[in-house]
């Protein structure tokens, strides 16, 4: 029986938008006891669909102009605001992508779950508290009596998402909408949360609409799949049909773009050693005067070597120290001890003045291309700034920038435009061109493809591999994504809690992981479980 039915839903965008409709002619349903995954890239309209069902879409910007949404037979588009408020929480509930920001930072988590009961039931305060603790126990939160009084910032990402799930499920709604609920979490945490959602859904016979961009997650959790592109559903069917034999070319392209967990054959790099660290240590905080200080060992005794023409991947979850290592190597932060050798010279403790000539040798591409380009400068200005600082004449720097635009696959008139006129993938190409303009020996890619859609991700990965070969770069590739690492790294180094747990050739590490943590990490990667 269908819990939710959406028929011919069309939602209009304001006239200033780049297309007339956010979503067009959406028809789908969610049955009791099943998980429907809506997959699509950014801008595909999957979140608009979910928010329209919840009645949370901004009515001034997004107006439904056609179609119906019915929840257990009740029309939601014509329901009053008051009725919708009652349905939200009681019959349909939602969990979100970023559990840190989705919880109110100044209220205790127990009270935030209890608010659900306060709104929709007449229970007394003590009865509410008992139910909240039961709900927290239901999502396997440790020591709920104590955690009841915690604030969100005191919990881990996984615990926060469990709080959100407990909140959404307190009143046992018939429909749960999950909007990318594991995207902001580490792989091992993601695996636990996916299992939790699936378990609870089976136990309570709920219908779940699960929104994701990740086919690995789809394979893990879905019963049925709907694929969206530019506001339309291009394909819908059971998970076996859509993943096993996709009919629509767009679905085929998306699935083909998912990087494989099997590393391809790569020739051994023979270049000279470009970058080496010896016993690199970074600790934060210091021992207090009376021994009360808190010390965080962000990176411990890290030894790494990268040759020219080689890509070394540093793989780990948040807090593993992978970005700390990258930032130390860049000398964006000062290492506590140890050596950083560039072409044999130790830069670990050089003062800023002595360090400056070495700055151009190491360049970095950051995760978020939206924030790493100055919005008020043209692309050209951003690219030539570095070379001009190092003494290149402006006309020559401009000529080099134009040449680099071709290398990264953009036309040279892009130089006169501003970053907001480009898509995420294009901006990341610009960031790569900016790094290459300095003619570095070492390129650091810090989660450089993590913010991009899969289809774009594959292209940017190809570009990175291409420039590494063309300019004989030593590349340090920082990522949390094991699929991406498998495709681009010659060797990988696995980090956990500031320590290097395993280093080796990529193919060897994936085929025969030596350390327990590496095995756990590989097992947790979505879409690798049994039956997929």
């Amino acid at each position: 029986m269908a819990v939710l039915e959406v028929t011919g839903l069309t939602v209009e965008l304001p006239p200033s938008a780049d297309r007339p409709y956010a979503v067009e002619d959406i028809t789908l349903h969610v049955n009791a006891g099943e998980i429907l995954c809506i997959v699509g890239e950014s801008g595909s309209g999957k979140s608009v669909t979910a928010f329209s069902v919840m009645g949370l879409a901004d009515k001034r910007a997004l107006t439904p102009v056609a179609g119906t949404i019915t929840l257990e037979g009740e029309d939601l588009l014509t329901a009053s605001d008051q009725r919708l408020r009652k349905l939200r929480g009681e019959k349909m509930a939602m969990i979100f992508q970023e559990p840190m920001t989705a919880l109110n930072p100044v209220l205790r988590v127990g009270d935030q779950i209890g608010e659900m009961l306060e709104i929709h039931t007449d229970l007394s305060a003590s009865a509410r508290k008992a139910k909240v603790i039961e709900a927290m126990r239901d999502v396997s939160l440790p020591d709920p009596e104590k955690m009841y009084r915690s604030y969100p910032h005191q919990l881990s990402g996984g615990q926060r998402q469990r709080i959100m799930i407990a909140m959404a499920l307190t009143l046992e709604p018939q429909l749960l909408i999950a909007d990318e609920p594991t995207t902001a979490l580490d792989v091992t945490t993601q695996a636990q949360i996916l299992k939790l959602i699936k378990d609870i859904q089976r136990r309570k016979g709920m219908g779940v609409m699960f929104i994701t961009h990740d086919f690995g997650v789809v394979a893990e959790i879905a019963d049925r799949v709907a694929v969206m592109k530019h506001g339309r559903i291009v394909e819908q069917g059971t998970v076996a049909e859509v993943l096993g034999a996709p009919k629509d070319p767009y679905t085929q392209k998306l699935i083909a773009a998912v990087p494989s967990m099997t590393p391809p054959e790569r020739p051994e790099a023979q270049g000279s050693v470009a970058l080496q660290t010896q016993a690199l240590v970074k600790t934060y905080g210091q021992q207090g005067l009376f021994g009360s200080g808190r010390v965080v060992r962000a990176a411990q005794e890290v030894d790494l070597t990268v040759r020219r023409g080689e890509t070394l991947g540093i793989v780990g979850e948040s807090g593993s120290g992978k970005s700390t290592v990258a930032r130390c190597v860049m000398r964006l932060i000062d290492p506590t001890s140890g050596a950083i050798l560039i072409d044999g010279e130790n830069i670990a403790s050089l003062r800023e003045g002595q360090l400056r000539p070495h700055r151009r040798d190491i360049q970095i591409v950051f995760q978020d291309p939206y924030r790493s380009l100055n919005p008020r400068r043209t692309v050209g200005q951003s690219i030539i700034e570095g070379p001009v600082n190092f003494g290149l004449a402006v006309p020559e720097a401009k000529a080099r920038a134009a040449e680099l635009m071709k290398v990264v696959g953009l036309s040279s008139d892009a130089l006169e435009r501003f970053p907001h006129q480009f898509s995420g993938g294009q901006r990341q190409r610009i960031c790569i061109a900016r790094a290459l303009a300095m003619e570095p020996a070492i390129l650091i890619a810090d989660e450089a493809v993590s913010a991009l859609d899969v289809s774009v991700q594959a292209q940017v990965l190809d570009l990175l591999d291409d420039v590494r070969e063309r300019f004989d770069l030593a590349m340090l590739f920082i990522t949390h994504d094991l699929r991406v690492a498998a495709q681009i790294c010659d060797r990988i180094m696995v980090m956990n809690k500031g320590e290097v747990v395993e280093t080796g050739h990529t193919a060897q590490v994936y085929a025969d992981p030596q350390h327990a943590y590496t095995r756990a990490l590989l097992a947790a990667a979505p879409g690798t479980g049994p039956g997929t």
Partner: protein, 314 residues
């Protein structure tokens, strides 16, 4: 926390020393001589020199400064050159109206401005919002003394519902007469703070209403009013409280003018008279006193952050 408070209190000492030094030097650098003011228009040069000698004004500046600081440490702010009364006593006599006017002003301003700013934020872009913002801009633009006379003309002279001027102590004459007399000065002085606080509240609440946890609260089926009261206001509070703290500092300047307009015998009048007469000890004492109050209020504001936001810990 205790450690933080101790450090903050200790760190006020160098600040107070700097303020003291600055005040002392600025006063001596300013033109004008208290001795010739006391001696009057027909005094000879000898008379003035004799008075200077008596007041200790002919000693080297360093000696004068050390003598003053020495007395300060013992809690002695000096004696007025003209009335001969201790400065602490003069401040004591005048402190009540000023503190009460400041309190009523800040309470009135917060009670009016926070709801006004919140409503404007909730209905951002609406006619109501524009009216509030228009009022806010005008509130900034009208000087206290102009507004004071407009209000006196309207409410006291035309409508005759409030007194033109004066002050009644709640301790002596009772609370009713106090309120009756303090209303106009309070309203006059608070307009600029209402403008300031309302603007800040509006900006802060608008920002908070965009946050994900507001969407979560809507997803729970919470009503818009409760979302505003429970989820938005407290998260928006830190910048608003900061502005209130700055407001209290600015208030001191406003009090001087307002007390003159409404003829209230407070510290503002004391400052004014002392400046006109070059009565150095009173000016020094008052500025130090105001600095101390300001530093104390800032400490209180910083500590209040920990109550408003559990993520802030010292």
């Amino acid at each position: 926390m205790t450690r933080y408070i101790t450090m903050r209190v200790l760190s006020t000492i160098p600040v107070m020393v700097l303020v003291a030094l600055f005040v002392f030097l600025m006063l001596r650098l300013a033109p004008g001589d208290p001795a010739s003011v006391i001696a009057g228009d027909y005094a000879t040069a000898e008379d003035v020199a004799r008075i200077r000698e008596q007041l200790g004004l002919s000693d080297p500046i360093v000696v004068q400064f050390l003598r003053w600081v020495g007395a300060l440490i013992q809690g002695d702010l000096g004696t007025s050159i003209f009335s001969g009364k201790p400065v602490t006593e003069l401040i004591g006599q005048r402190i009540e109206p000023t503190i009460l006017l400041a309190l009523t002003t800040i309470i009135f301003a917060v009670v009016v401005a926070v709801p006004l700013g919140t409503i404007a934020a909730f209905r951002a872009g609406s006619l109501l919002d524009r009216v509030v913002m228009l009022f806010s801009v005008s509130g900034f633009s009208v000087p206290v003394f102009v507004l004071g006379y407009i209000l006196i003309y309207t409410f006291s002279m035309s409508l005759k519902i409030l007194p033109v001027q004066g002050y009644k102590s709640p301790l002596v004459e009772g609370f009713g007469p106090f309120l009756y007399h303090i209303t106009l000065p309070t309203v006059t002085l608070s307009v600029i703070f209402i403008a300031l606080i309302a603007r800040m509240t509006r900006a802060s609440v608008i920002e908070v209403l965009e946050e994900d946890y507001i969407r979560t609260a809507r997803a729970k089926g919470q009503s818009e009013l409760t979302i505003l009261m429970r989820h938005a206001l407290r998260n928006a509070a830190v910048p608003v409280v900061t502005v209130i703290g700055i407001g209290i500092a600015l208030l001191i300047g406003g009090v001087v003018v307002t007390e003159s307009v409404f003829n209230i015998p407070g510290l503002g009048r004391l400052v004014l008279d002392a400046v006109l007469a070059r009565d150095y000890p009173i000016i020094q004492g008052l500025i130090l006193f105001f600095s101390f109050i300001y530093i104390f209020i800032n400490l209180m504001i910083d500590l209040s952050y920990t109550l408003l936001d559990p993520r802030i810990r010292y």
